[in-house]
């Protein structure tokens, strides 16, 4: 009979105690928090670049260095590839008016990344939005979205967003679930379905996610904006290779993009040429911009590579 009584009492005590302690905490908290605030005002500020390219100012004490898990045999290359290139926010502008489907971009990309013939990191699409609108060629790299669906769905942090805006893949981490391929609305990602055919020299290299070599069976890969070239201060291969200067690559923080010959202010180019992003409504916030295919260099019908391809087909 006594037991429940005891319980009740102890609960009441506990309640009392809890109440008292919260009041105490509330009283003591006020001056405490004020002093913390005052202290904060005096503290040194740090200017940081957020992943969507905005400059923010925060207290130095609030900054903690992000350490990514390096439990598994991580190498220097993989650590470096996680961090990105400091202070940069890469952006690519593709001028559709200049593209004549020469495919030099694709060739140089394939060569640089030793891409086997069954896939492409960079594709040039024949686009026609509606039956009565004009067709045009649309080169497409990875969009390196600021809200990348592929990164959100990756279960093991194998694909990640870097500070410089690049979305990269670590093929030492990838488990091959292909959720990222299903999640990417732009069909950008390709998979190593079978045994890898890299040359012996490539296979002997130390793995570097910044070039994606050597590749591994059962893992995903895609366009990486050539961070290995960027580290050397060079443009990505597609931009250098294009004979028509379609690809303007640059740093959004510097507001500058260049195709190697001509250099523009990114913001001015957007304004003058009515730049846009592909499928804005998906909310992925791409870092690749397009300039509409108006006043084209060459009419669509006269694009050489298509003829070349047709010739090849005739020969077969």
């Amino acid at each position: 009979m006594k037991k429940p009584e005891d319980k009740k009492n102890s609960r009441r005590d506990l309640l009392k105690f809890g109440l008292a302690s919260t009041v105490l905490a509330a009283i003591s908290q006020t001056p405490l928090s004020a002093s913390v605030l005052r202290k904060k005002e005096e503290e040194e500020k740090v200017r940081l670049l957020s992943t969507n390219g905005k400059l923010v100012e925060v207290d130095k004490s609030e900054v903690t260095k992000v350490k990514w898990d390096s439990k598994d045999n991580s190498t220097e290359n993989r650590d470096r590839a996680r961090k990105g290139i400091e202070g940069r926010k890469w952006v690519l502008v593709i001028d559709l008016a200049r593209c004549k489907h020469a495919l030099a971009c694709q060739d140089s990309c394939n060569k640089h990344h030793h891409i086997p013939g069954d896939r492409q990191w960079l594709n040039v699409y024949k686009m026609q939005d509606a039956e009565d609108t004009a067709p045009y060629w649309m080169p497409k790299t990875c969009f390196h979205c600021d809200e990348p669906p592929c990164v959100s769905v990756c279960p093991v942090d194998a694909t990640y967003k870097r500070d410089d805006g690049i979305v990269l893949i670590d093929n030492e981490r990838c488990i091959g679930c292909r959720f990222c391929m299903a999640a990417c609305p732009y069909s950008t990602r390709v998979f190593n379905w079978g045994e890898v055919n890299d040359s012996p020299e490539v296979q002997a290299r130390e793995y570097d996610p910044e070039i994606g070599l050597p590749r591994k069976m059962g893992t995903v890969e895609k366009c990486d904006f050539c961070p290995d070239m960027l580290r050397q201060g060079k443009l990505p291969n597609c931009a250098t290779a294009c004979p028509n200067g379609v690809f303007f690559f640059g740093d959004k923080n510097e507001d500058t993009v260049t195709n190697g010959n001509e250099t523009f202010r990114f913001s001015e180019l957007m304004e003058k040429k009515a730049g846009y992003r592909y499928m804005e409504e998906l909310g992925t916030e791409p870092n690749v911009y397009y300039l509409p295919p108006v006043d084209r260099l060459v009419p669509f019908e006269k694009c050489d590579q298509q003829d070349k391809h047709d010739d090849e087909e005739h020969k077969q």
Binding site: Y125, A182, P185, M217, G218
Partner: protein
Amino acid sequence: MLAIVFLVGLASYIFQLRDGLIITDMDDYVSWGIYISNFVFFVAVSLVGSLISAILKLSNAKWSIPLTRVAEVIAVSCIMFAGLIIIVDMGRPDRIHYLFIHGRLQSPIVWDVIVVSTYLVISILLLYIPLLPDLAILRDKVTDIPKWQHKIYSFLSLGWVGSPKQLNIMHKSVKGLAIVIIPIAFGIHTVTSWLFSTTLRGGWNSTNIGPYFVAGAFMVGAAAVIAVMYVLRRNYKLENYFTDELFDKMGRLLVFLSFVYLYFNINEYLTPAFKMMGGERDLLRSLFIGEFAPMFWSTQIIGMVIPIIVLLFKKGRRPLPMFIIALVVIVGAWFKRYLIVIPTLFFPYLPAVEQYGLPTAIEYYPTFEEWSITIGSLAGALLVITFLFRYIPLIGIWEMAEYQGIVENGEIPTKDAAD
């Protein structure tokens, strides 16, 4: 027979481990194939465990008691194979432990790993705990078995004597588990549906997809119980337990569940079909009148509408017609999952291209290896079911005794046995 099919599947998987997923017909467009749709199928069927042994039990539908064991066995074997088949789909199964050491909570795959493994554990417990008194009966009453088998029974029965204390613990834990398993069961299939609906792809980008999956799962699960029940009744002469009346009740349940699923199907297809939005238009056309139309209308009409019509009649709810209908529903449900997973991948936002940027056709014809692994996994699940029923009572002895009013609280038979 089942074992042979299973072994062929296993052999195909060994080839796949050696050569990679290239032995499948998946490509960079159709990057998920029948392995994934088969996974969804397994998860769906496994939901029946919670339906019969939790929802019906808690709602005091006593007629379903003879089916509890059958439903739990189906649930355990299907959820096991769901887990296995998803490993088969992985490009790097050797890195499966990364899910635990590098897992990120924001990925729906990690949610799925958590709920599926929880469901597996609870389902096994829900099968095992009510089995304890039966194992004790087998240990004490059955003598014409080999010694090793006797040893296993006495080991597995964990010293069950049927004391009031033990009975109390068992009743409490079974009831607790039955309550816990309901949200987990909804969870496994809802999270599985989110693997699709958290993407931006046409046909998957739907808010209806969670309940749509759960409704479909209950329907195919009920059909699976009916099919297994019919086979057991014929093979073991269980007409006294799996009565015609029980079939009739299960038939009513299946009709009800089919109507719920029909309702969600109408929601899932009619509203987007009314709008025919850009990203979904081509997909819907191919389902309704194009490439996938024969399969789509077969699953809808043969796999859902006709079963509803047949089961509405009393004659349709007799054991044999029910068995046939159940098989039709199961086959239809498998292909329905094919239609949920694969056609979406045929319609990316950007056109499918080959090397020169010229349009190319997306094709997917599952290879022999894919089919053999898939069919092998289905055979494997059936193998587990038959294996379990060879060694354990397929109807809960004490539950049935309680149900028929032979004993109260299941005390007498086990107590006698202990003495």
